[in-house]
């Protein structure tokens, strides 16, 4: 039998079963049914997309044990699967693994303490340019990263930008994936506004998108995009807004601030028109606000991860049936320019068992463990390696598909510079979000907002 036939049959069975389970509710999703179809979906990497013959293994130190600090789950099926993976690893290598979870914003302070104390977890799963804050304190993982890239069809371009440190000249992080964000919209209201609610026909240009938002607002269904200090949602859409008009904050030399340009003006002017279609109060929105507004039917359109859809499936099935997702439209940049919550794993040098740590990371990124984990997360996290594009989760629920290519479509937040302490600082200061918020709410004129942000960036980058 041709391998593709086997795969299609497997795909068909799993899709039906997954949809049934989805309707029953997220918490009702028994892990047994998940692992059942997961086993069948084992062969999800199309032949030719990866090199199964490549092998690598790190010699695990005798008596090794590992402590891993990671972000706590976004979806209740994540941790059980990750723990299963860890137990599997222990059975194979004899290395006990201790998993510690913290709310995702709390990982960085703990990692900071560990970095300074010289003791703590061996592996940390962090976000954005966290490893670049202490690059010389990390075990180089170049061999592992290059192996994974060669074996699984290559990393998406953004991955080495986050994983590789110019300062140290090595990979310091292993990209794990990114919780993606997309436009979430109510299909019936989009239809009412005169647009085709199918995601494939969703507006692909910024002009068309603005027309849609205006039409929605006229019919009493405003949009809503976070302009407060929402670490996920505000950063995502504000950076997209800037980049999709060809604007950017910093030049590739990582020093020159390029914000003050006509493209930025265009982006903000467009943003102002978009703002008029928004619900009042967005200037104070943190990450959970748009979830609430959407689930209450107060907004027809917002940007968010797949969490709204999940809450809807659980508690608001009418909305779950009426909503869909679409990727961000494109402006004059002419290509995808998105920002998602990029996560990567790094290993501290103080660990007594660097090989065991690298072996664990290798294990969790390889087929079949990684696909199983991604599938278990039901669309929350998207892959950084090309070969994993066709995993079962993306073929099971069409509404999850727009999240699939998050890492493929994203730019690093430091664009056009490289991730490092300066971009970490710019991100934590919300310079871009503040600029967009100032200009859109009218607190400052477009010109003044750009100048204020430029001067803040200058202080950060040229310090």
């Amino acid at each position: 039998m041709h391998p593709e036939d086997r795969e299609n049959t497997a795909g068909g069975l799993t899709r039906r079963r997954f949809l049934q389970a989805g309707v029953a509710g997220l918490t009702g999703l028994a892990l047994s049914s998940v692992s059942g179809w997961l086993k069948q979906a084992a062969a999800q990497l199309p032949p030719g997309s990866y090199n199964p013959q490549l092998q690598l293994s790190f010699p695990v130190e005798p008596g090794a044990s590992l402590r891993i600090l990671r972000w706590s789950q976004f979806v209740s099926t994540d941790q059980p699967e990750y723990e299963r993976m860890a137990q599997q690893f222990t059975r194979r290598t004899g290395v006990p693994v201790r998993l510690e979870y913290e709310a995702w914003p709390d990982v960085q302070p703990k990692a900071a303490a560990a970095a300074n104390v010289g003791a703590g977890p061996d592996i940390v799963l962090g976000f954005f340019d966290e490893p670049h804050l202490w690059p010389d304190k990390l075990v180089p993982v170049t061999d592992l990263a290059e192996y994974l890239g060669r074996k699984y069809g290559g990393w998406f371009p953004v991955a080495p930008q986050y994983g590789y440190s110019n300062q140290v000249g090595q990979w310091i992080g292993v990209p794990i994936g990114a919780p993606g964000s997309c436009l979430n919209y109510r299909m019936s209201w989009v239809k009412e506004a005169g647009f085709d609610p199918d995601p494939a026909s969703f507006p692909k240009t910024t002009d068309e998108f603005l027309r849609l938002c205006r039409a929605l607002k006229t019919r009493g269904h405003p949009t809503g995009f976070a302009l407060g200090k929402a670490v996920g949602d505000a950063n995502s859409w504000c950076h997209w807004l800037l980049w999709t008009f060809g604007a950017h904050a910093v030049a590739p030399d990582n020093k020159t601030i390029t914000l003050n340009a006509p493209e930025t003006v265009n982006a903000l002017e467009y943003g102002r028109q978009l703002f008029e279609t928004m619900i009042p109060g967005v200037a104070g929105w943190l990450d959970p606000n748009n979830n609430r507004a959407f689930l209450a039917g107060e907004v027809a359109l917002t940007n968010n991860g797949i969490s709204i859809y999940f809450a809807a499936k659980n508690d608001f099935p009418e909305i779950a049936g009426d909503m869909n997702h679409a990727v961000y439209p494109q402006g004059s940049a002419g290509r995808p320019t998105e920002l998602h919550l990029f996560s990567q794993a790094y290993v501290f040098k103080y660990t007594k068992y660097p090989n065991a740590a690298k072996e664990f990371l290798r294990f969790t990124m390889e087929d079949p463990q990684y696909p199983r984990w991604i599938n278990a997360m039901l669309g929350y996290v998207s892959h950084p390696l090309r070969a994993f594009t066709n995993l079962a989760v993306w073929r099971s629920d069409p509404k999850a598909v727009p999240f699939r290519d998050a890492v493929a479509r994203m730019l690093p937040h430091s664009y056009q510079g490289t991730p490092g302490p300066k971009s970490a600082r710019a991100l934590s200061e919300f310079v871009i979000v503040d600029m967009v918020a100032d200009a859109l709410t009218g607190r400052r004129s477009v010109r003044e907002a750009i100048l204020a942000a430029e001067s803040r960036l200058k202080r950060i980058y040229e310090a």
């Binding site: 200037a283 107060e298 302490p421 200061e429």
Partner: protein, 308 residues
């Protein structure tokens, strides 16, 4: 004095042995009594404190030790518009919140300082805003101040006093007011319970004497209660000021210092710069600006506490 005499062992003789003499000597006894506190602070605070002060003069980041830059951080901060805004925010926030908490807390303490049915329940209940972990009460206010879902707006609309949305957390000035209100809510019990304990040591004979002289309630308060309570009031107020100036969790959870950095205080800005941005030297320098507040607080309270 009859009651007190009965509690002291009758005719206790001052011991003549060495230990006894030490325990009688105010200086020796004093040193002995402060030793436990000093020991804990010396072991756990001295080094971090010294390092914390030192860091303000370096360009240390979380990952790198950095080197001495003198007053560089301070100069940078004074030229930083966000920091200057944080200074103004902190002054506004602390001043309004502390004054309101003092007045309301004193009022509440006076109200419950009497016998009435349900006194015990009331005194326990009024402690609740202080007891509930800030990380959770802040979430409640986050919801209460939601532009769409605020129960306040909902109630006002039901009554007919408001239409549309109130942008509690999106408008800079409203956001400041909202957070100050939340801080007052959480801080009233501190003043109320703290001052209540002081009120309970004021002997009622003083009030009776004042009444005989024809004093009304206001005069009783101003001439009897207030002077006796002053040292305690000063201490409680000073502490509240220090804690309010350093407020972190409440602000961080509700606005993270936004919108437009209108609610950034020293504490939140220091955290953002030091931990999230990684510039721990600068974060330490931000915290150092609390020094004038501390010095003022020390001088004021010392004046009241040590005056004989």
């Amino acid at each position: 004095m009859a009651g007190i005499e009965a509690t002291v062992p009758a005719r206790a003789r001052r011991p003549a042995d060495l230990i006894g003499r030490i325990l009688e000597n105010p200086h020796a006894l004093g040193v002995l009594m402060v030793t436990p506190a000093v020991l804990i602070l010396a072991i756990f605070l001295a080094y971090p404190f010294g390092l914390g002060v030192w860091l303000g003069f370096t360009n240390a980041t979380i990952g790198q030790a950095g080197h001495f830059v003198g007053l560089g951080n301070f100069r940078y901060l004074l030229g930083d518009s966000v920091f200057r805004l944080a200074v103004l925010n902190t002054i506004l926030y602390a001043a309004s919140a502390v004054v309101c908490k003092l007045l309301l807390g004193m009022l509440l303490a006076l109200l419950v300082n009497r016998e009435f049915r349900g006194k015990r329940i009331v005194r326990a209940i009024m402690l609740l805003p202080w007891i509930v972990p800030t990380s959770l009460s802040a979430l409640v206010f986050y919801w209460i101040y939601d532009p769409t879902f605020s129960v306040i707006t909902w109630a006002l609309r039901r009554i007919g006093l408001a239409h549309g949305f109130i942008n509690y957390l999106g408008d800079p000035n409203l956001a400041r007011a909202s957070l100050i209100a939340a801080n007052i809510w959480r801080g009233i019990p501190f003043f109320a319970i703290g001052l209540l304990a002081g009120l309970q040591t004021v002997s009622t004979t003083l009030y009776e004497a004042a009444e005989i002289d024809g004093a009304g309630p206001w005069q009783k308060f101003w001439f009897v209660t207030w002077p006796l309570l002053l040292p305690l009031t000063v201490v409680v107020t000073v502490f509240s000021t220090i804690m309010t100036v350093g407020d972190f969790q409440l602000i961080w959870i509700i606005t993270r210092g936004g919108p437009a950095n209108a609610t950034h205080l020293f504490g939140t800005l220091a955290y953002q710069r030091a931990i999230q941005g990684g510039f721990i030297g600068e974060g330490a320098a931000i915290s150092a600006f609390v020094l004038p507040v501390l010095v003022g607080a020390v001088l004021v309270s010392f004046h009241y506490l040590r005056r004989e």
